[in-house]
Amino acid sequence: MNTLRTLFLKEVRAEWQNRQGLLVTGAFGLTAVVAQSFAGRLGSPTPADSAGMLAITLIFSASMAIPRLFLSEDEQRTIDLLRLWAPPSQIYLGKWLYGALVMTLSSLVLGVLFSLFVRMPIVQPGLFAAGLFGLALALTTASSVAGLLSMGASHRWLLAAAVFVPLVLPPAILGMDALGQALGGSGTTGWRSVLGLVGFGAIMIGIAPSLAHSLLRRTPLGQDS
């Protein structure tokens, strides 16, 4: 636990000092919500349209904020320091925790701005909050796995994008379903979609540390290497 906390705090310090990821993600989210509010004046978007726009904003925020936690470390070659000092699964989980914090805060801020700017009534606030939270966690996991899998590749950013698209499709569909119904859309599967998001996140977070172990491991002591 101490190792995980230390690695999480390192991510917070390094990212806060740099702020590049936070600023890009924040600027993109704000621009997207403002653009959606203007688009909304041209016609009345349906709950499904609004849910789609909000989910896409979150997906792009995740694609900008999370894979770079892994890929910039790979590019700067600082990942070797961590590999010398900490187990791979803890390295992954430290970054995942930081990513989950950023995405949860982003979805909270974007959700509030969205409700203010787009003027779409939130019919089921509980489902809306749960959908945003579930989508944020599922996107964090999907995008962190995309970043992890792309480390060491010669075209790592391109590969991360290619891996990110299929990984992000299930949470995107589930998230749009939950958010659409929270905004007054038809259907009764909203909470089931939230459960699906949580399940997706849980399965991926169960697999990811093993992936990290394979990709970032140092040779085990006393074994064939």
Partner: protein, 194 residues
């Protein structure tokens, strides 16, 4: 205390080295020699377990201090934050003024992006030595260091061999003065050393 058996590594179809046998005992300073591109740094990365060899195996004690020119530091963290991170992950703590031993006292709250090359080398040494690892792996340890820095390396090596061992890649004849054993990657396609 440290053993590597039948180590070999290749890039594409070219073998850098094959069948290397290395066994370190306390008090040893093993210098790895060879021209540029002979695989010195690659061998050290394998021995630090940052890279899997193409063949062979490494058996070693868990604690290895590793300082290399190509080991990157976090530009957005300070020297002190690096030491704190290393200490926390090693489950130890660095004494107050630890960086002063490496002549970095005045720079400990400076971002690493503002460090000179020589200061970065000193910080890497400080990080490698935290927790007193029994084996110290150094890649070109005196490159980029001024005279005081070179004296610091000499002191570190002298202290390290009191209870541990040093493995260093070098082309500097001055560094060789400290070596008790050497391994030249140019001269041997397969080497045995113990």
């Amino acid at each position: 205390m440290f053993k590597a058996q039948g180590i070999g590594h290749r890039f594409g179809s070219r073998w850098l080295f094959r069948e290397l046998e290395i066994e370190l005992q306390p008090g040893m300073v093993l210098a790895i020699l060879g021209r540029n591109g002979s695989g010195k740094s690659t061998l050290l990365r394998i021995l630090a377990r940052l890279l899997d060899p193409t063949e062979g195996r490494v058996v070693q004690t868990p604690a290895v201090g590793y300082a290399a020119l190509d080991l990157a530091l976090y530009p957005s963290l300070t020297g002190r934050q690096h030491v704190d991170l290393r200490a926390a992950l090693a489950g130890t703590s660095a004494a107050s003024g630890y960086l002063a031993e490496f002549d970095l006292a005045r720079a400990e709250d400076q971002l690493v992006s503002e460090y000179s090359t020589g200061m970065r080398v000193r910080l890497k040494l400080a990080l490698a030595l935290l927790g007193k690892p029994p084996v110290l792996i150094l890649d070109e340890p005196t490159a980029s260091l001024d005279r005081e820095g070179v004296s610091l390396i000499e002191r570190i090596i002298q202290q390290q061999i009191l209870g541990g061992a040093v493995l260093m890649a070098t082309n500097d004849p001055d560094d060789l003065r400290h070596a008790t054993h050497s391994l030249n990657l140019d001269e041997h396609a397969s080497n045995t050393l113990s």
